[in-house]
């Protein structure tokens, strides 16, 4: 997979594993379909599409390199003509951590709720996946509108666009991860085997983000209202996710509701992996199910809506 090697130059190994995972899933099922596509004798019929559409995995596979190229474009462009460059990927989360540690941790006495764990690392270990999730959702929501010119002028599987939009957040994520390692050393947190779970958790975060992002991207094509609604929605979502507080602060009879938020289990598991504490498997399992269901709905809805994109955007 050539584009994986492209990503590898830009990001640590951790990232590569995840990309490989998402792509290879479609690989085996589509080998036959590709063979048909290449044969020039095959008629391709273009007619009004009615009813539920199948996702054209063969086409996605054919255009797999475009995913990498679009992601790479966004990554390259992101910090062009800035003096500090990629340092911004570190400055932002670190500043947030410092401010939040001070206000929530010290002034709001949240650090008393988290036991023996230093509050800054407790917060940062959750802020990291949260920021990735939030910026992935925002980026994929806007991706269709940002690339509208391409949508009306050229054919390619539209699904690639919102997925490619997670590239930049992913690279930022990897950069900010370095700070997490530094924090772990500073607070002398011992490494545990659970750290091996992190790549899977990153994958799960992408899946959760895409479930929401795909639907929002498709709706934004028609209703630009969502460009304004999404930042607000993300803000609310931040507070119903245990980022600044531990999950146990939520009353018992509310737990079932809060567990429906896929980021709840993922962030808890991420934090537990970093700190080496026990992982709440049932919560993570719930998150996985919700994330996968969300992703499936997102894929189907997007695939259904994409027929009209070029006419409506």
């Amino acid at each position: 997979m050539p584009f994986v090697t492209v990503m590898a130059r830009e990001a640590p190994v951790l990232v590569v594993v995840t990309w490989e995972k998402t792509v290879s899933a479609s690989q085996t099922t589509t080998q036959k379909a590709i063979a048909d596509e290449v044969n020039p004798g095959q008629w391709k019929v273009l007619k009004p599409r009615k009813g539920l559409q199948m996702i054209d995995f063969a086409r996605l596979w054919q255009f797999r390199e475009l995913l990498g190229m679009l992601a790479l474009r966004d990554v390259k462009v992101r910090y062009k003509q800035t003096a500090l460059g990629a340092a911004w990927a570190i400055i932002q989360p670190v500043t947030m951590m410092v401010v939040m540690s001070l206000f929530f941790g010290r002034f709001a006495k949240m650090n008393e709720q988290v036991g023996s764990v230093p509050y800054p690392i407790f917060l940062y270990a959750a802020l990291l996946p949260w920021t990735f999730f939030a910026s992935s959702v925002t980026a994929s929501t806007n991706s269709m509108v940002v690339n509208s010119r391409m949508l009306t002028k050229i054919f390619f599987p539209r699904l690639i666009v919102p997925f490619a939009a997670t590239g930049t957040p992913l690279v930022d994520y990897a950069m900010a991860f370095i700070v997490l390692l530094a924090l772990m050393v500073w607070y002398s947190v011992s490494l545990s085997w659970q750290l091996l779970l992190l790549p899977a958790l990153v994958g799960l975060t992408i899946i959760s983000a895409m479930g929401v992002g795909l639907i929002l991207a498709a709706v934004t094509v028609r209703f630009r209202d969502f460009r304004y609604l999404v930042p607000f929605m993300i803000q609310v979502w931040f507070f119903i996710t245990p980022v600044i507080y531990p999950n146990k602060m939520v009353p018992e009879n509310w737990q079932w509701l809060i567990q429906l938020n896929p980021m709840c289990g993922i962030i808890e598991a991420f934090r537990a992996s970093v700190l080496g504490t026990a992982i709440n498997w049932s919560s993570l399992g719930m998150s996985t199910v919700v994330a996968l269901v969300g992703m499936a709905i997102g894929l189907l809805y997007f695939n259904q809506a994409q027929r009209k994109f070029a006419d409506v955007i």
Partner: protein, 436 residues
Amino acid sequence: MNPVVIDVENLGKSYRLGSHFQLDVTLPEMISLKAKQCFNRLRGIKPQPKTDDRHFNALEDVSFKVTQGEVVGIIGHNGAGKSTLLKILSEITDPSSGQAKIRGRVASLLEVGTGFHPELTGRENIYLNGSILGMTRKEIAAKFDDIVTYSGIEKFIDTPVKRYSSGMSVRLAFSIAAHLEPEILVIDEVLAVGDVEFQNRCLGRIQEVANSHRTVLFVSHNMAAVQTLCKRVIMLDHGKIVADGKPEDVIPLYINAGQLQSEDLATRTDRNGNGQAKITGCSITNLEGNQVQLGKPWQINVEYETIHPGDRHEFDFTISSANSPRVCYLSTNMLIDGPQHWPAKGTIAIRPTDPCPFWPQNYTMSTTLKHNGSICDQMNEAVQFSVILGEQNKYNSLGRRASVMVLDADVRVDESQNSLAENQFTADTTFQNRAA
């Protein structure tokens, strides 16, 4: 007979003007509408067929077949449905009815440089644009040097595209597209951008593709290009096919249909001069007031107003075509005699002594009206006109050879007996055949 590679049957595309096109349905309205539909369905009420007829047919019942290796020009006026057809064939949008079947890899070029990012360098954009157009990294890498050489911007390949002149980025973009190797190439009016040299290059490249036995669908308003490149032309009007045949048959139809209404010159505001005299109307016709035919007498009719009645006025005309800014210049200044009495307001007819030498296509004419050597009124592209071949025209034998002007001539042959035989032929190679 080559195999059919594009088979279009009863293809149609309609846009709903209200909800889709102009988007005048707000989100709450749509939700309540959908909810009502759901509720009605639950109660067993069938959804009413849509009563609003506010839809617009961009394409209606279009059918045609294209065989491998054909170069087909698609012409028609703005809004005729050309781009919609190409968009359906390139899978950008779905048809609303009918179907199109395609065999082979399609590359469509509806715009030059789709997806170019100004912040990225030329090199990065080659890879980006290439993969958007459907090339693989391997293919791009293999053709990279050719693309760069062809574009002629080797020196700037590592400079961000935002620092390029617009000509440079167009050249680079076209160079990438030119290296696509599809079995079917679909091109929209891409020639509209760029200078003459660029346009010639585009045409040359399309010709190369055509020569290599690949299929080309080519939309253009440039009739000279269509005539040179295509062996078959399809003309669309209001979403329907109105003609499908040889260029020499179809292009005149387009030109006739395109009797472009010249705007009211009396009220036109973008004009220069001191305003002491004014051209209030102008048209170019044959002597009967109909369309100008190649090789037939023609005249320029001018309506004017002046505050210097009785004085001699001078008219200058410059005729241009889409490809040549100055095809021909005509001035009444060189005429020795002319009307002596000029009313304050009137119409004059200027009849060139030579028959119309212009090859059938669209032309524009700029006018200048002078009095005593100073410009009173000057307008660019004051009038548009088109020339047709007409029936039983001796120039029909010229076939599809296109140039801007055609000359008539006397031809004399010195026979061996020293006797002078005089024949009049058209200055054309058919002469050689007959003489031999």
